[in-house]
Amino acid sequence: MSITPLAGIRILDFSHILAGPYCTRLLADFGADVIKVESRTRPDMTGALRPGEQVEGRQDRPPLFLNTNRSKQSITLDLKTEAGREIAARLAASADVVVENFSTRVMGRLGLDYPSLSAVNPQLIYLSLSGYGHTGPRKDWTSMNMNLQAHSGLMLATGEAGGPPVAISNSWNDYMGGIHGAFAIIEALAERRKTGHGANLDVSQFECSVATLGGLLTACSVNQKAVPRPGNRCSHHAPQGLYRCAGEDEWCALVVETDGQWQALKTLIGHPELEAAELNEIEGRQAASRRLDQLIEAWTEKQDSRALDQVLKQAGVPASRMNRIADVMGLAEAARAFPTLDDPDDIPRRVAGLPIRWDGLRSQLRPAPRVGEHTESVLGDWLGLTPAAIEDLDREGALR
């Protein structure tokens, strides 16, 4: 028997760009009905193409939007109009969950903040996914992904001691905020089932990111002293590193976890200096790790990274060549993480799926909606509005 964990859960999604839309995509994958509220005058511009950039397939939305917002429905409301705001509030009255990631005061100005909506629908679960949260001295600070990668400490926890800060060159912080938000919503739904009460989930993306560095922060807080950046080394294995290989920007990672793996590695390298007895134990290898890195790299930089990957693995030494996205796409993991979406109106498109294997889960990939594709059906189903009433609203400009 297959199950749909969030079957029948209605999510009214005012979020845009990535953190919020990634959060609601996860919820859609667990079976929730996600209604994306857009505006024809100010559409979600995520992934907008640069002038002159051309792509195949659907042209109504950029490829990144199609990926982030698949499996959702779209309605258009002009929240600048009284009538548009009223429809939004009525939809929220029959929603289970509202998600928004505007800056602090926006939803309040629209009369769509938690106090306004929960007065009508006390069972509502309301997720605000702002940069810093809606309380505290920096609640009005504005931020984007890179700001929070920087502020959370991640960029100065990554890379070599003394070197410049290092970011992960994707929207890492949005993913951290989005997935914490999804977890918070499902837990709040479970709580509501027991208590009958909704919840105001004031999630701070900043705190989500900081939490993923919680142990490091704990060390700094208790010792009141900086922890040296370890680069690619670790406290309990040596040698461990990413070593240069032959060719342009080619690298291979290897980790020696056991004395046996060390024996295998030094046999492969065959350098007399590696025969020193003190290197047979982890303490000796830790103490000599700088020199070991030099000797290992002198060996790896003459070798092809793919061949080296195989040679090391065959010798029992944990290793992996550094793959780029083109290589990653050929992995079995990518076949599962990036399934192909079938849409009669589009080319076959690889999209991000839910990267878990759960046989009992009924989950279906559906194409991202066209702008306002579901306005009529949602207003009909949720609010019981007739086509004539919807047409009136449209004439008033509420549905732009």
Binding site: S169, E207, G214, W251, V255, M322
Partner: protein
């Protein structure tokens, strides 16, 4: 409140920690010599060996600790008794007991197994994460503080939450596998979209932004600050007014994101020169005053005095029987719920209590402890 058994090693520990923050009862099952997390640095100064790992203090906070030797039959029998009363087991695979034995011990059990070899650096290399982390042309770096393990754990926690919520939809047990490598490949989705639609490979950009044209860390007198100019809206004109450099404002030639992308290197160099002699906090305060996303590039040590983290109750004082009062992060979900701060258990701290709950007599308990099973 669900009853959760935590059989994870390093990768999954944050998943069970999130379930603690959400109010569930989590028992961490450790080998009698303590788990590997307790041996991972950085360490708290002055703490006894198995109670010193900072990651242990954060990731195991609020869990109950039971030591159990799963290499012997008696230990596995106790585990099965625990499973009989549990709703959810999260574990790193492989386990010293068959997963099907666990599923049989408790009809309707939710089991989430984490698959992967736990070699963080190798997994980062394989999945492409290293290819987008580091200075261009230089040696790539694994993301710090084990944040890629947190990604896997977040997928586990969210899936656990969904499976628990769906418990009344089926009487059947649910066996779910989360693969470390698949979760990290999934973090490459932006690079995947770019590659499959334009054929361009996303490469590492160091401290500069990957998506927005004018985005990156810039050196200043006392470290680095981070600036992102929003690609749309009037952020750019507000920034130009702030900087007051006529070369950037001329004729509105850089008014669009596309034109800024074309002139990116020039713009970034101009900002570098402008901010080099200014102080981080001044730049950030002035920028935020103009609603421009400007923030400090913090060291983790600087964060321990962050007014927002303290003001929101994310950093709170916690008492520990061996270590005294410590100011610790309570976690994003706990902060949200206003939950009382909790501390990590001493090794085996709750073994006796948990055996009592399972109905073992005093005599049985003593014998299990003497033989080293517990």
């Amino acid at each position: 409140m669900a009853r959760v058994l935590d059989l994870t090693t390093e990768t999954g520990a944050y998943a069970a920690r999130l379930l603690v923050e959400a109010g569930h009862d989590v028992v961490r099952i450790e080998p009698p010599q303590g788990d590997s997390l307790r041996r991972r640095g950085p360490f708290l100064e002055g703490a006894p060996p198995l109670e010193a790992s900072a990651d242990h203090h954060f990731l195991n906070a609020g869990k109950r600790s039971l030591t159990l030797d799963l290499t012997v039959e008696a230990g596995r029998q106790i585990l099965l008794r625990l499973v009989e009363a549990a709703d959810l087991v999260v574990a790193n695979l492989p386990l010293p007991i068959k997963v099907n034995d666990l599923m049989q011990a408790r009809p309707g059990l939710i089991f989430i197994g984490i698959e992967g070899d736990g070699h963080e650096l190798c997994t980062a290399a394989r999945t492409g994460i290293l290819s987008i982390t580091g200075q261009p042309g230089e040696r790539p770096s694994v993301p710090g503080a084990h944040v890629i393990q947190a990604v896997v754990a977040l997928h586990v926690a969210t899936t656990a939450s969904a499976a628990l919520y769906a418990k009344d939809q089926t009487a059947q047990g649910q066996k779910i596998i989360v693969s470390e490598a698949e979760c990290l490949v999934a973090m490459m989705e932006q690079a995947m979209v770019t590659w499959t639609t334009t054929g361009k490979s996303t490469e590492r950009k160091g401290y500069r932004g990957a998506v927005t044209a004018v985005s990156g860390a810039f050196a200043c007198a006392d470290g680095y600050w981070m600036l992102s100019v929003p690609p749309s809206g009037d952020g750019w004109s507000r920034f130009v007014e702030w900087m007051g450099d006529p070369r950037l404002g001329q004729d509105g030639a850089l008014g669009s994101e596309a034109s800024r992308n074309a002139e990116k290197e020039n713009i970034l160099e101009t900002i570098d020169r402008w901010s080099a002699s200014q102080r981080k906090l001044d730049l950030v305060t002035q920028g935020q005053g103009r609603h421009i996303p400007a923030t400090p590039v913090n060291t983790p040590l600087e964060l321990t005095n962050d007014p927002q983290l303290i003001g929101r109750g994310f950093l709170r004082d916690v008492d520990h029987p061996l270590l005294g009062t410590m100011r610790l992060p309570v976690g994003a979900i706990a902060a949200l719920r206003g939950a009382a701060p909790v501390r990590a258990p001493v090794l085996g701290e709750h073994s006796r209590e948990i055996l009592c709950e399972l109905g073992y007599s005093d005599e049985e308990r003593r014998s299990l402890m003497e033989t080293g099973t517990v």
